[in-house]
Assembly symmetry: C2
Homo-oligomer: 195 residues x 2
């Protein structure tokens, strides 16, 4: 009894490992304790509650996603950057289903802390779109649109809404979606120039 080398870091690491393995965004404290060879209440010496654990894993997920994305768009600009971002965004979600599912379900309108954690992801897209010469609030609008398309696509895919008609090439749909965004953006830019 007494002291084992348990730390918050180890707990979070095990939770992440489990989530990556099962592709489910959650792990119960009981299961986690089992895997760490400890009784459930012992975890409370290192974390406050389930919510805090969720936050920690969420932070991990966001950090990795953003790092992944920054790496993908490094030194790219304009359409190239948007395409690279989109490809790698979809790739991350596929490779880390559990983590992306968490990102996809974690924050809530009410939860200020989670929303703040997610900010870097928004900022990245803002940067990405800043080379198009848009007005500040139009950048914010188009950032919403791009993220809506990518996230919506992944979400539908994950929920199985693409199952039917699934003889239809998924990869092509993805490219079409990104192209749609770019065409929409270009149309907007052209009309802006005229006016």
């Amino acid at each position: 009894m007494g002291t084992r080398g348990l730390t918050k870091e180890k707990i979070v690491a095990e939770a992440v490992a489990y989530i990556e393995l099962t592709e489910q965004p959650i792990i119960s404290l009981h299961e986690l304790a089992r895997r760490l060879d400890v009784k459930p209440p012992s975890l409370y010496n290192h974390i406050q509650n389930t919510k805090e654990l969720q936050y920690a894993v969420f932070q991990y997920a966001i950090d990795h996603l953003v790092a992944h994305q920054r790496n993908a768009v490094a030194q790219l600009k304009g359409d190239e950057a948007v395409r690279a971002f989109s490809r790698s965004y979809l790739a991350f979600a596929t490779a880390h289903k559990g983590l992306y599912r968490l990102i996809m379900t974690m924050p809530s309108e009410q939860d200020e802390q989670a929303k703040e954690m997610a900010l870097p992801l928004l900022d990245l897209v803002i940067e990405l779109l800043s080379s198009y010469g848009l007005r500040t609030d139009d950048i914010a609008h188009w950032q919403r649109v791009l993220r809506a398309i990518l996230h919506g696509f992944l979400s539908q895919e994950d929920l199985g809404y693409f199952y039917y008609y699934n003889s239809i090439d998924l990869e092509k749909s993805r490219e079409l979606a990104v192209q749609c965004f770019l065409d929409g953006l270009h149309t907007f830019l052209n009309q802006m120039c005229k006016a």
Copy 2:
């Protein structure tokens, strides 16, 4: 004891009422039993398990969403129809947050039954896009794109990802997203004509 007038219909109706009230997509059998003034096991005389109840509520939600949408696009075609569909889709999700959250979380890649229930929603969009003269599989592609945009937008909104930069007008973002879809589609159609 003995027989009270409990039926599956009443159970589902109460579940729906609760979901509409709380805006949460789930209700526990205990809570449901409490509200029906019955002990939890009694519910099992009318439903098999939680899953079946979920299915029933999901069916209700899909039915209402589709009816709502069909009503909105009746006798419209082309861009008009897409715009009307989008407006009313977003309106439904706002007015019935709990039900839409269920639609947004219920199906799963693995769950054939739920996916089949959701089909009418896909078919509706397919119909909507059939007046553009697209090839059959392009209709399926663009159906995915439209649904991805709308669902992605709602999901982000619901998750609070639009909170920051939220001085930015939400309504304008929505219109921009739909316009982006239409511009993307038109660009695609123009290029199809040329070739």
